[in-house]
């Protein structure tokens, strides 16, 4: 098993492979949050329309 030595959270900013369609991961994160916002808006419209 790997020797465990550090006592602090490790650096989370090391480079990782790029996401599809976007230049950075921030774009992917905004897509997920934007999709949530869109769904909430859509659900609001559905609720109002069929009430």
């Amino acid at each position: 098993m790997k020797k465990i030595t550090t006592t602090e959270p490790v650096d989370t900013e090391a480079p990782v492979d790029k996401p599809p369609f976007f230049k950075s991961w921030a774009g992917m994160y905004w897509l997920v949050i934007g999709n949530l916002a869109f769904l909430i808006l859509l659900f609001y419209v559905i609720t109002r329309y069929y009430a």
């Binding site: 098993m1 790997k2 465990i4 030595t5 550090t6 006592t7 602090e8 959270p9 490790v10 650096d11 989370t12 900013e13 090391a14 990782v16 492979d17 790029k18 996401p19 599809p20 991961w25 992917m28 994160y29 897509l31 997920v32 949050i33 999709n35 949530l36 769904l39 909430i40 659900f43 609001y44 559905i46 609720t47 329309y49 069929y50 009430a51």
Partner: protein, 564 residues
């Protein structure tokens, strides 16, 4: 069940099990067995995450929930996409960098061995009990509806899962979950089309949704704030975020899914895939429940969907009273059927006054029908003491068994059993890996060959599987067992989340402080459990908040002592 249903059911389940074993044959070391050789692509991870969360109860209960309460349950998942983003940014890179097999390994890196062992132990107790319930909950419903033996149903689900989970480890769990998700979603979409096609000729899809709306079932979103209301926008966004962070960030049954990714990017995409699709998936399942509700406005539903429980009343002196209630229910249904047809006509004519009048009439008859159903439930409780009087879990399976054609019944049963198997497989795999990596390898036998640990993992998967089957088999002997397991889960979950929250976000707090804080927090939660009336769901919040608060206080005290 007809022969064709059996062929579809056994063929589907058999194919998934055999495919899982064949596809993952030859996993020899721990890397391969517990992390699938880090070879999984994002779509496998995403589907695996979704399949792990979607248990059989999701497919049995959610349509029933919509039948009873409308679409608003979907709000419960609003916090999930945000949790997926937070975990992708903070948790995944740390787990990858440390090359951990389990989430609890990270805690030794950040704190110390005792904190890691404590969190692993709490997880094993909680998830060990939950695995039994994951098998028992669908088994009790299927055995009641189909007349199968409860023990046999438990055994079928349990043994099938053990076979491929032992054989292929984590990779087998993820690979089979792809097929299981395809069966689950394919089956549900077909069921949705079928229920719409069964509506009367003069009632189109638009009319069905409009009728559901006028009867209060299209209540997807509610922005009003109410502490007592479990499903509204605010509780879904905050409580849902809290729950999703605990479940996806600290529960090994989910952590193992994305730890098997080919790279950080693949794991992130898998989680974000879940963040994009989870809400639409729940919306679809709830919407099918709403369509079943509309279907039952034109076709008489049973007065109580758990027919087996109802039939027991006929063997008691309360039989005559039940017959009377059933007659009242039939008369009310016939009146309501005409009123709903009137509502459809009014909606088509776009005459608002007529719509309002028809809507009022339907609402009054619905209320009267609900009253009869309540009386039936009271009668069942009186006639057969200890009977379950909540029948929403039986709404969808009752529709499937009674109205779907031969072949599709088998497919829908395959959906439910696939869901049970996918969740159970993840749980057994997580229980075995945590026992081996965090307890056995770290505390009992540190230096052994990789083959030894793989064999230990296989043996422990079987052992946890047998415990789960035994637990599921004897579950019916205990009263309120599901509630008891939920309470036990809530007693431990808050403390585990608190430890991880401190680990990720409060760098000042060190090992001794967080360990003592976790023990104290657990004490506070146990005090609340034994000596207060606080609802058990709040134990999650109390446990988590106490770990953070006590952690700060104790670190301050320990730090001062060290300085002096």
């Amino acid at each position: 069940m007809r022969p064709l249903d059996w062929i579809v059911l056994l063929g589907t389940l058999g194919f998934i099990v055999v495919y899982g074993i064949w596809k993952t044959r030859g996993s020899k070391d721990m890397e391969g067995y517990l992390k699938g050789d880090n070879s999984m692509k994002w779509w496998t991870i995403g589907l695996s995450i979704m399949a792990t969360q979607a248990s059989a109860i999701t497919f049995l209960s959610t349509p029933g929930q919509a039948y009873e309460d409308g679409m608003r349950f979907v709000q419960f998942y609003f916090g999930l996409p945000i949790a997926m983003v937070i975990i992708s940014i903070t948790v995944i890179p740390i787990f990858y960098r440390l090359k951990v097999y389990t989430a609890y390994e990270f805690l030794e890196n950040r704190f110390d061995l005792k904190t890691r062992s404590l969190a692993a132990f709490l997880f094993l107790v909680q998830r060990g009990l939950a695995a039994g319930i994951t098998i028992y909950a669908p088994a009790i419903i299927l055995s009641t509806m189909l007349g199968w033996s409860l023990t046999m149903t438990n055994l079928i689900i349990g043994v099938l899962v053990i076979v491929y989970t032992v054989s292929g480890g984590t990779k087998a769990v993820s690979v089979t979950q792809k097929q299981q998700m395809a069966v689950m979603m394919g089956g549900m979409v077909i069921a949705g089309f079928m229920v719409v096609s069964y509506l009367p000729e003069n009632v189109g899809f638009d009319d069905a949704v409009a009728v559901a709306g006028k009867m209060g079932k299209m209540n997807v979103i509610d922005f009003s704030f109410d502490w007592d209301d479990r499903y509204n926008f605010w509780s879904g966004l905050t409580g849902g975020l809290f729950l999703a962070l605990s479940y996806f960030g600290t529960d090994q049954s989910q952590v193992a899914r994305y730890l098997g990714g080919k790279s950080i990017g693949e794991s992130r995409l898998g989680l974000l895939f879940n963040g994009l699709l989870k809400i639409p998936m729940q919306f679809l399942i709830l919407f099918i429940g709403v369509m079943v509700f509309v279907f039952y406005q034109f076709n008489q539903p049973p007065v109580f969907f758990n027919e087996a429980a109802k039939n027991k009343v006929y063997a008691t002196p309360y039989a005559e009273e039940l017959r009377g209630l059933e007659t009242r229910h039939t008369v009310l249904f016939q009146e309501k059927q005409q009123a709903v047809q009137g509502l459809v006509t009014a909606l088509k004519s776009e005459d608002e006054a007529a719509v309002t009048t028809a809507q009022g009439k339907v609402a009054a008859l619905t209320s009267a029908g609900k009253q009869v159903r309540e009386e039936v439930k009271e009668l069942i409780a009186k006639a057969v003491p200890g009977s379950e009087t909540k029948d929403t879990d039986y709404v969808f399976i009752s529709f499937v068994m009674k109205y779907l054609p031969t072949g599709l019944v088998g497919l829908l049963l395959a959906v439910i059993l696939s869901a049970a198997m996918s969740s159970t497989a993840s749980e057994l795999n997580a229980l075995a890996s945590t026992t081996v990596v965090d307890i056995y390898k770290r505390n009992v036998k540190q230096h052994a060959s990789p083959a030894h640990y793989v064999n230990a993992s296989k043996l422990l998967t079987v052992a946890w599987g047998v415990i789960a089957i035994l637990f599921a088999t004897f579950a019916s002997l205990l009263d309120n067992l599901i509630q008891a397991v939920n309470i036990i889960g809530s007693i431990f979950y808050g403390t585990i989340l608190g430890i991880f929250l401190v680990a990720f976000y409060f760098k000042r707090i060190k090992g001794n402080a967080v360990f003592l804080a976790a023990l104290l927090a657990e004490g506070v939660v146990l005090f609340c459990f034994y000596f207060t009336d606080i609802a058990f769901l709040w134990f999650n919040v109390i446990g988590c908040a106490c770990v953070v608060l006590f952690g700060f206080i104790l670190q301050g005290m320990i730090g001062e002592k060290a300085k002096s």
